[in-house]
Amino acid sequence: MTAQHATSAQAAGTATAPTAMGHSHAHESAQAQVRGAAPYVDDIPETAGTLHAAPVLSPVAHGTLHGLDTSAALALPGVVAVLTASDIPGDPVLAAFTHDEPILASGTVQHVGQVMALVVATTVDIARRAARLVRPHITALPPVLHAREAHKQASYVLPPVHVDRGDAATALARAPHTLSGAFEVGGQEHFYLEGQIAYALPQEQNQWLIHSSTQHPGEAQHWVAHALGLALHQVRVECRRMGGGFGGKETQSGHLAVWAALAAQHTGRPVKMRLDRDDDFLITGKRHPFSYDYTVGFDDQGRLCGLQLTQLSHCGFSADLSGPVSDRAIFHADNAYFLQDVAISSYRCKTNTQSHTAYRGFGGPQGVIAIETILGDVARNLGLDPLAVRLANLYADEPLAQPLPSVSAHNPTPPLRNVTHYGMTLEDNILLPLIAQLADSCSYQKRKADIAAWNAGSPVIQRGLALTPVKFGISFTATLFNQAGALVHVYTDGSVLVNHGGTEMGQGLHTKVAQIVASELGLPLHRVLSSASDTARVPNASATAASSGTDLNGRAAQYAARNVRANLAAFVAGLDGCGAGDVHLVCGTPPGADASAPAVGLVISPTATRLFDDVVHAAYANRIQLWSDGFYRTPKIHYDKTTLTGRPFYYFAYGAACTEVAIDTLTGESRVLAVDILHDVGRSINPALDIGQIEGAFVQGMGWLTTEELVWAAPDAERNAGALLTRAPSTYKIPAAGDVPEHFNVALWHLPNPEDNVGGSKAVGEPPFMLGISVWEALRDAVAQARAKAGLAGPVKLDAPATAERVLWAVQQ
């Protein structure tokens, strides 16, 4: 079994070599990574005098914090300082958007694991040992630990949001069939293999250098400056690479940067702060768990005619990114399906847990899973094939059946079934052909029949099959973030360095950007290097998030390279007396060299072919600018926050997965047996990296819905009420190699992005995560078959993750 590679080497035999774009080049750090020679923040040689900080965690989920007894900690040899909120020179509240999160707890504690103080010591072990000696004085208060309980108490971190189109109530009243239900979907720990870390180094004249494992150096810079009472230009944040991010280092990394910087400022020495894995689990936010209530109306074919959906997002003790995460859950409540008369209510529930945060998909998966679950239920309720019901509900350029008068003036009922519930018209819909191609290639119908026959004769094991699509909106929903900058430097020897505002967390952004720049300048890829993300080079960069890294930064780098290319072309045009448009920069065999010689950069005019390196050298001597900035902002997007309508997304990425599973009806255990994926990345800049993103995202999505269970101790627990009990890889189980099926095929959709995006590509980081929902639906299919065989009536009642225990109860009850 090997992944299919969508593109192959282009036709050889011409003078020009394949461009750097469109080929499966190895990750720019692959050789270093396999040799252990790719440094992460903890690998940076420590400056003499470096101290280490460890957090002091609240043992109580909710309470009044009267004070901290730090005497025992301070008495431990090697301890240099213990910092509390009163030691913060700037604002003691983090410079987060909603300004609701204390840097260190003060007055109250709001979750088990909230950081109350920092111990600074000569070694990390001493710091951690001393942190356990700090004695807090806390009067416990009743905690709220579940979103439903918070909703009951109207306890929210942000106001509720409602989106309506058409007239859901009337539609439901007229619907031939209705179903109502409620279910829960759990959160997810990022489990980046490299835990959170920051290393703060005081520089001259009250300037600061922070090495941070972060997806958002600019925000770390902003937060550190705010906490230390400095201007932004005094703080420089650098990140060469992360050992995984997945959204977990979008804001959560900023806390570490602030804590390390505060400790460094307080002691006047460099301070490194690296969280122990268990502390990382206890302190940092996770994917938002969601609770759902719904009533859906549908006709005999399973086509939806009305939907009322309530989403409760379990936000934790502060807002963090819960607003945009919950918004994206609303935007993806449709997934691939037209919702004509719909009412969605979203509540951002405040609970005494970690403050949940960005995680690959950013609310999208929590939106998609609800409608996929509902459609599965509708199909089973009618005795129809779930795929047929899904197809009946797909967005399509078809007229509406019987439009009801719209209740909303700003969000009118559209004439065609191709407008989302937030008023965005699908201009790039490939859902039907994509699903049809996958269903055909994976023999969906035949396997469906084979499985039913097999199940009939199987006493214990029942198999299930599901094919689910994904449609994912690409752009930050906050329009202002959709901008990026880059610098391309061509040195006098013709080598190129590119720097941009994005960060490398393994996704291959630096590789793709280097490919784009190399293509633009007609160079072999090895002539272009990407340098570390650095707030001192490209300022005000957005987070590397929302799958947008290549779209934004790749385009900015392309524009920068294009400027340099234009300078060189104009220079050569002057030499050769031709138009600049007649000068081409291509990668190819040097003139007169053997055809097997390594490809180099060539500058070809109508009258001469020169080596790129020679042209650069001559251009420098003629005082031609050999470097440039590039700036990109995504076109077409707009979004009205008050009406929740507009075009928040530049385009959609599509995909579909067909997954076969088996469950053990005695124990509830399950296995994934086979997976086939067809996914749309437009024209791939690097098929190997894109397939890697698809496979990795799928497996992560599978883990979210199967083995990865977050368990918090109940509010009435004898000990540790509200504490996260699954706080280490011994108890929190991400997928292992053995969980991945041998049959795991990934193919790439063959068409480029119809929107003008870099290289015709599409974003890939998040969309395939939701392909993991096919595992969920396949499990529910298997459970339904087991129930039918046992003569049990009623819908499948299953919450996620579908642990063996939950599957067993769903089969039996």
Binding site: A30, A32, V34, E46, D125, H190, A662, G696
Partner: protein
């Protein structure tokens, strides 16, 4: 970073020596609880090895240890450096990710990973490289031994080798592909003979001093005796020393609970405890006068080797063995350590209870005087050693409590031989023979701690239960034997009705608790379900158990019906 100083009165440790990149490395003043990972990263600046979890669960810190195989070559094992104490590497060859490439030429394992795009963020990658390196070298070693080409690596081989390595980025497919092609790249070999020579040099230098701790003034912080008398002597002499036998749990006390004993007593070098032997049945055994040999598993035998020996005569245990932790933990941890540690969720004990295993406990001193005898400063000719053996079900007294005295060491686990495998009688079709099954229920199939573990051994005579031995984990404060259920089975015909009745008894016999792994209700349900599964499997029904890693046959064959099975 300055080395750890966990205890002000710490005795000095002897010079730590290991072979790395063909050279002997000598390190002084390494504290006894310094982990191997801390030594590599903080003391030696070898930052290629990563810290992912500090609990032996993710594999980012995997390194490879090599020891002489006694045949002029080396035996390789991947271990988690984060929970290995640095001194455990003493006298061994050590490879980290920095050691594999030859100059600019990456190792075949590294080449294969790059070719298959098998690293994304790269943080787990060094651990995968080392786990695969151990497999690679083992295959080359076998090839050199047999003169045949190296056996190709199958997907299952790769899964086995990588069972202790987590990757969050790739979804594993490219890593598994790389593993299956790494032997196709032109080979790169380790100079095993030269390494063995260096190991022997270290051994000669240290043999004299290693056991020279009897004089307390010369005792060190890390006691690493090489003989059983010296181990027991040290145990008696230094009862406060932390005894370790693989350190896969104590290592976590060190990293997570700041456990910092001033002195560590490591039994893994004790020659007498490093073997698996056939021995006469213990005198306490009720099965006498059976003359079949028992298996004696020394306390220094790794879980890998112990399970290999058990699976050799009981193939039904293969899957259960492969689901015990991950390979690096099985390569470092010992069966003796797992048993002596006494965790209620240790997976080996329910099995050993079902097998009717015994444990041997030993201590220094003559039986009449007890442990605190007067000792000479030199090892006596005939050391006074006490030994006792008892059935495992008499070993545990409470949560992590055992009958072991402070000076006692669990030295051996004694396992009875298997009975004849279950077969239907040629005429009556009734079943005769031993029926053994061991199951665990966990959230993840690989490398997870069981919510419930059930091991069941029945001996059937003409379809009637003549012996019943059931060990259970996860349902009580200790691993326990299901005595009431055993009684309910004895003398009954082995039928679905009996199994159902026994399942009812089994559910009533324990009062499991709810925790983050499972609810009490689910645990109770599993007791019955697993007994039902054992019955069904004994009737020859296939495809009723998902735990086997290769599932392709499930999608290709029809299930066989439960009805018509022989009872």
């Amino acid at each position: 970073m300055a080395p750890n100083t966990p205890h002000p009165h710490l005795p000095e440790t002897r010079v730590l020596q290991f072979v790395r990149s063909g050279q002997v490395q000598r390190l002084g003043n390494v504290p006894p609880t310094r982990t191997l990972l801390a030594l590599l990263r903080d003391d030696l600046g070898l930052t290629g090895t990563k810290e992912g979890c500090r609990s032996g669960d993710c594999g980012a810190c995997t390194v490879v240890l090599g020891e002489a195989d006694g045949q002029g070559g080396l035996r390789y094992r991947a271990v988690n450096s984060c929970i290995q104490l640095a001194h455990a590497a003493h006298g061994k060859a050590l490879w980290t990710v920095e050691d594999l490439a030859e100059g600019n030429q990456p190792h075949p394992v590294q080449q294969a990973l790059v070719q298959h795009h098998a690293s994304q963020c790269g943080f787990c990658t060094p651990g995968f490289v080392l786990s695969l390196f151990a497999l690679y070298q083992t295959r080359l070693g076998q090839s050199a031994h047999t003169g045949e080409p190296a056996t190709p690596v199958t997907r299952d081989d790769a899964l086995h080798a990588l069972s202790g390595n987590l990757c969050r980025c790739t979804g594993y497919r490219p890593i598994l592909d790389a593993a299956q092609t790494m032997l196709d790249v032109p080979t790169q070999t380790v100079d095993e003979a030269a390494t063995v020579l260096k190991l022997e040099q270290i051994s000669q230098i240290n043999e004299a001093s290693d056991d020279n701790f009897v004089d307390e003034t010369r005792a060190t912080g890390y006691l690493h005796p090489s003989t059983l008398p010296n181990l027991l002597h040290a145990r008696a002499r230094f009862p406060q020393a932390q005894l370790v036998a693989g350190c896969t749990d104590v290592g976590i006390w060190v990293t997570k609970l700041q456990h910092a004993p001033a002195q560590v007593l490591d039994l893994t070098r004790v020659e007498e405890l490093r073997h698996i032997e056939n021995v006469a049945p213990p005198h306490l055994s009720p099965v006498a006068p059976d003359t079949a040999a028992w298996l004696s598993i020394g306390a220094a035998v790794t879980l890998t080797h112990a399970f290999d020996a058990l699976v050799a005569t009981r193939p039904a245990l293969a899957t259960f063995a492969s689901r015990f932790a991950g390979l690096p933990v099985r390569n470092a941890g010992t069966l003796g350590g797992n048993v002596a540690n006494g965790s209620p969720i240790g997976d080996s004990m329910p099995l050993l209870l079902a097998l009717g295993a015994h444990v041997r406990l030993m201590q220094w001193g003559s039986a009449s005087k007890g442990a605190d005898t007067t000792l000479n400063s030199s090892a006596p000719q005939a050391p006074p050693l006490q030994s006792r053996e008892l059935p495992l079900d008499q070993f545990y007294t409470g949560y992590r409590q055992t009958v072991m005295q402070p000076a006692e060491v669990l030295t051996h686990i004694l396992v009875p031989p298997p009975g004849p495998a279950i077969t239907p009688h040629p005429d009556t079709h009734t079943l005769n023979g031993e029926w053994l099954r061991a199951y665990k229920i966990s959230k993840r199939f690989e490398d997870d701690i069981s919510a419930v573990c059930l091991a069941l051994r029945l001996v059937l005579h003409n379809g009637v239960v003549a012996e019943a031995s059931i060990g259970v984990g996860g349902v009580a404060a200790t691993p326990v034997r299901a005595l009431q259920t055993q009684a309910a089975l004895l003398g009954q015909p082995w039928t679905q009705a009996t199994a159902t009745q026994a399942a009812t008894v089994l559910q009533a016999e324990f009062a499991p608790i709810s925790d983050m792994r499972a609810s009490a209700a689910y645990r109770r349900a599993m007791l019955a379900a697993l007994l039902q599964r054992a019955w069904a499997e004994s009737t020859g029904v296939a495809h009723i158990n998902l735990e086997h890693t290769s599932l392709t046959d499930l999608t290709q064959r029809s299930p066989s019906p439960l009805t018509g099975a022989t009872a």
